[in-house]
C-alpha cells in the first residue's frame, strides 16, 4: 500500500478555558490514503472540526504527530504552515468565504497571489479553474451577483487553483438547498474520480454517503471508521431527478 497522504499519530488538542484545560481531541490516529474520499462525521463538540483544523494546518496540535504527504508538519512555524496551506491544501467552507465586491476571477486568484505567481499566469490559471467548475461566463461577477451554488463552485475553483494534494471541505453543503448540494457533491465526486483526495466534514448522513469512507468522532475520539457500503452517485441522482421532472 502506498504511503498515506494524511497520517496522524496520537493527535491531542487541548484548549485552556479559564483555568481549566479542555481536551478537544484525545489522541486520534488516522491514516488517509491518496485518492480517498472521506467524510468526517460526529455531533457538535465531538472534535471533528478541531481535527479538520489540524489536518488543514490551520492550527497546531498540543501533542502527537501529523504528517502530510510524508512531511512532518506538526512542528512547523506559522509561516511554514501558511506555505503548506497555500500549496498543498484547498479549503471549501460552509459560508463560502468569498471576498465581497470582488470578482469571481480575483477570488480564485487569491491563493496564487500569496504564492507569488505572476499576473498573466494567475489570470490564465484562475480562468481555467472557473471553466472547470462551469462558471466560464461568470468570471467578472461579484459574489452578490451569484447564487449560493455558484458561490460554492467559485470557492471550489479557488481551492483547486494552486493544484493542491488535498481538498478539505467543512460542511460544504450546509448553506445550500438539496439540489445545489447535489451539484456541489457531484463536483467533488468528479474531482475525486480524477485522483484528488477529498475530506469533508458533515453531520448529514446522506451527504456522508457520497464519500467512500466515513469516520465518526465522539468526545474527541474516533468511534467508528468504516467504508461506505453503498456509495451515492450524485450525477446519477441528478439525472434521475431531471428525468422525473421531464416525465411529470
Amino acid at each position: 500500500m502506498a504511503e498515506a497522504l494524511i497520517q496522524t499519530t496520537g493527535l491531542v488538542k487541548e484548549y485552556l478555558v479559564g483555568e481549566q484545560t479542555v481536551a478537544a481531541l484525545c489522541g486520534v490516529s488516522v491514516s488517509i490514503a491518496e485518492g480517498e474520499f472521506v467524510a468526517v462525521m460526529g455531533p457538535s463538540g465531538s472534535g471533528k472540526s478541531t481535527f479538520m483544523n489540524l489536518i488543514g494546518c490551520l492550527d497546531s496540535p498540543t501533542r502527537g504527530e501529523y504528517a502530510l504527504a510524508g512531511e512532518k508538519v506538526s512542528a512547523l512555524s506559522g509561516d511554514a504552515l501558511a506555505a503548506i496551506r497555500n500549496k498543498r491544501i484547498g479549503f471549501v467552507f460552509q459560508q463560502f468565504n468569498l471576498l465581497p465586491r470582488t470578482s469571481a476571477l480575483d477570488n480564485v486568484e487569491l491563493p496564487l497571489l500569496y504564492g507569488g505567481v505572476a499576473a498573466a499566469e494567475r489570470h490564465a490559471r484562475a480562468k481555467k479553474r472557473l471553466e472547470e467548475v462551469g462558471l466560464a461566463d461568470r468570471v467578472d461577477h461579484h459574489p452578490a451577483q451569484l447564487s449560493g451554488g455558484q458561490q460554492q463552485r467559485v470557492a471550489i475553483a479557488r481551492a483547486l487553483v494552486n493544484n493542491p494534494v488535498l481538498i478539505l471541505a467543512d460542511e460544504p453543503t450546509g448553506a445550500l438547498d438539496s439540489r445545489t448540494s447535489l451539484e456541489v457533491m457531484a463536483l467533488l465526486q468528479k474531482l475525486n474520480r480524477g485522483g484528488m483526495t477529498v475530506v469533508i466534514v458533515t453531520h448529514e448522513h446522506d451527504i456522508a454517503a457520497f464519500a467512500q469512507r466515513n469516520i465518526h468522532f465522539r468526545d474527541g475520539l474516533v468511534v467508528q471508521d468504516h467504508p461506505v457500503e453503498k456509495i451515492n452517485d450524485a450525477d446519477a441522482i441528478l439525472a434521475h431527478a431531471a428525468a422525473s421532472t421531464a416525465a411529470a
Binding site: G78, D79, A83, F93, L113
Partner: protein, 410 residues
C-alpha cells in the same frame, strides 16, 4: 506578494467604503494643508525680513546727527549739523572693525532729461556708499577718483528714476539736468526694492559728494564739510556691538563731548534691528507650524481609529486570506499599505489645499506667503510617517490573529 498587488488590494478596500475613506482622509488633508499654509505664511514673513536685510546691505550701521537743545527746547533728531566728512574718514581710518564709512549729503531736486522730468532724492556721496550698501552698478560704471575729487558732473541713476525718465532705454551716457545743472549719467544701480519703511529705494540719483556740495546745494556758511549721515559697513566676523562702541568713543572724542554729556549723534544698528525681527518671525513660523502639526496628529489618530474598525470588520477576510496561504507578514503589509495609501492620498490633496490656502491668504489678507518645496516634501513625508506610525498597531493586530479564530469570527 509584491507591493503592486498589495497596493491594488488596498485601493479596492478603500473604494469599498468611499465615504469613510474620504472622511478619514479629510483629517490628513486638513492637517497637511494647514501645515503647508502656515509654513508658507511664516516663510513669507521671514523672507520679507531677509529681503530687507539683503537690500539694506549686511553689517550696516548709520550714524545721523543728534538733536540740539536751544534754550531748553530740545529739537528732534538730525536737527544738529554735527557730522562732517572728516568724521567719516576718521572712522574708516581708526576703527579697525569698520570696512568703510561713507559720508552722504542729501537733497532733492528736479531732474530733466529731454522732455521728461522727475523729482527725486539726490545723494552726494563717495563710491564707498555703494560698498557699504552692497549695491552694485549693473550698467555703466561707478565714479572715477578724479570725478570724486574734482566735483565731476556725473551721476549714477536709480532704476525707478531711470524708468521715469528713459523708460526701458539704457540711461548710460545720457545727458540730464539736475537742478538745472547738466550731468552725464555714467551708471545705473541694481534694483533694491522697498525699504523697511516702504519707501522706494530705487528712486534716487547719486552724484559725487563734492559735486553735490559745490554745484547743487551750495555751501552753508561755516559748515564746510558737513554731511547728513554716514553709512558704515562693519567687516564680516566682527561684533556690531564692539564696532558701535568704538565709533561712539571716537565720535565723542572728535566732537569734544564732556563725560556725561549727551551724544550729539545717533548710531543706528539697522542690521541688528532686522535680525531681531528675523528671529521673532522665525519663532512665529515655528509656532504656526507646530499648531498646524497638531491637526495632522489628530488626522493620524483618525486613521488609526478607522484601521482598527476595519481590522475588526474584516476579521473573517483576514482568516480566509490566512487559510489560503497569506503569511502574517502579508497581512501586516496589506493593512500598513492601506493606512499609508490613505495618508498619502490625503497628503497629496492636502498639498493642493495648502497651495490654494496660501494663495488665498496672499490674495485676500494681502500677506506675503512663501511656498517652499522643502515644506511640501516635509508635509508629505510627515503624512506618510503618520500613516506608518498609526497604521502599524492595527496592522500588527490583524497579522497576529489566529487563522481558525479569525475564520470563526462572527
Amino acid at each position: 506578494m509584491d507591493l503592486l498587488a498589495t497596493l491594488r488590494i488596498a485601493l479596492r478596500a478603500l473604494r469599498v467604503n468611499k465615504l469613510r475613506s474620504s472622511l478619514t482622509m479629510l483629517g490628513i488633508i486638513i492637517g497637511v494643508g494647514a501645515v503647508i499654509t502656515m509654513i508658507a505664511v511664516g516663510g513669507g514673513a521671514q523672507a520679507r525680513v531677509e529681503e530687507q536685510i539683503k537690500s539694506l546691505g549686511s553689517n550696516l550701521m548709520i550714524v545721523i546727527p543728534g538733536s540740539t537743545t536751544s534754550g531748553g527746547v530740545r529739537m528732534g533728531s538730525s536737527s544738529a549739523q554735527t557730522l562732517t566728512e572728516d568724521d567719516a574718514a576718521a572712522i574708516t581710518r581708526e576703527v579697525d572693525e569698520v570696512q568703510v564709512a561713507a559720508p552722504v549729503t542729501r537733497g532733492s531736486g528736479q531732474i530733466v532729461a529731454g522732455n521728461s522730468n522727475w523729482s527725486t532724492v539726490i545723494y552726494g556721496t563717495t563710491p564707498d556708499y555703494l560698498e557699504a550698501r552692497d549695491w552694485p552698478v549693473v550698467s555703466g560704471r561707478g565714479f572715477e577718483p578724479q570725478e570724486v575729487s574734482g566735483a565731476g558732473k556725473v551721476a549714477i541713476i536709480g532704476q525707478s528714476v531711470s524708468k521715469q525718465l528713459f523708460g526701458d532705454a539704457d540711461p548710460v551716457d545720457q545727458q540730464v539736468r539736475i537742478r538745472k545743472v547738466p550731468f552725464t549719467i555714467v551708471g545705473m544701480l541694481d534694483k533694491k526694492g522697498q525699504s523697511m519703511m516702504g519707501t522706494d529705494q530705487d528712486d534716487v540719483i547719486l552724484v559725487p559728494l563734492a559735486t553735490a556740495r559745490n554745484r547743487l546745494f551750495g555751501n552753508p556758511q561755516g559748515k564746510l564739510r558737513r554731511i547728513h549721515f554716514m553709512s558704515i559697513k562693519v567687516r564680516d566676523g566682527h561684533s556690531m556691538k564692539d564696532a558701535e562702541n568704538r565709533i561712539r568713543e571716537l565720535m565723542r572724542q572728535r566732537h569734544k563731548l564732556q563725560a556725561g554729556a549727551d551724544d550729539d549723534f545717533t548710531i543706528r544698528n539697522l542690521t541688528e534691528i532686522l535680525q531681531a525681527q528675523e528671529a521673532s518671525s522665525k519663532v512665529l513660523s515655528l509656532l504656526l507650524a507646530a499648531v498646524a502639526s497638531v491637526s495632522l496628529l489628530v488626522g493620524g489618530i483618525g486613521i488609526m481609529n478607522i484601521m482598527l474598525v476595519s481590522v475588526t470588520e474584516r476579521t473573517r477576510e483576514i482568516g480566509l486570506r490566512m487559510a489560503v496561504g497569506a503569511r502574517a507578514n502579508d497581512i501586516l503589509k496589506q493593512f500598513l499599505v492601506e493606512a499609508v495609501t490613505l495618508s498619502l492620498i490625503g497628503g497629496m490633496l492636502g498639498i493642493a489645499l495648502g497651495l490654494g490656502g496660501s494663495l488665498a491668504i496672499g490674495q485676500f489678507a494681502g500677506w506675503r506667503t512663501s511656498l517652499s518645496g522643502a515644506s511640501v516634501v516635509l508635509a508629505v513625508g510627515f503624512a506618510a510617517a503618520i500613516g506608518i506610525f498609526f497604521g502599524f498597531y492595527p496592522a500588527r493586530k490583524a497579522s497576529r490573529l489566529l487563522p481558525i479564530e479569525a475564520l470563526r469570527y462572527e
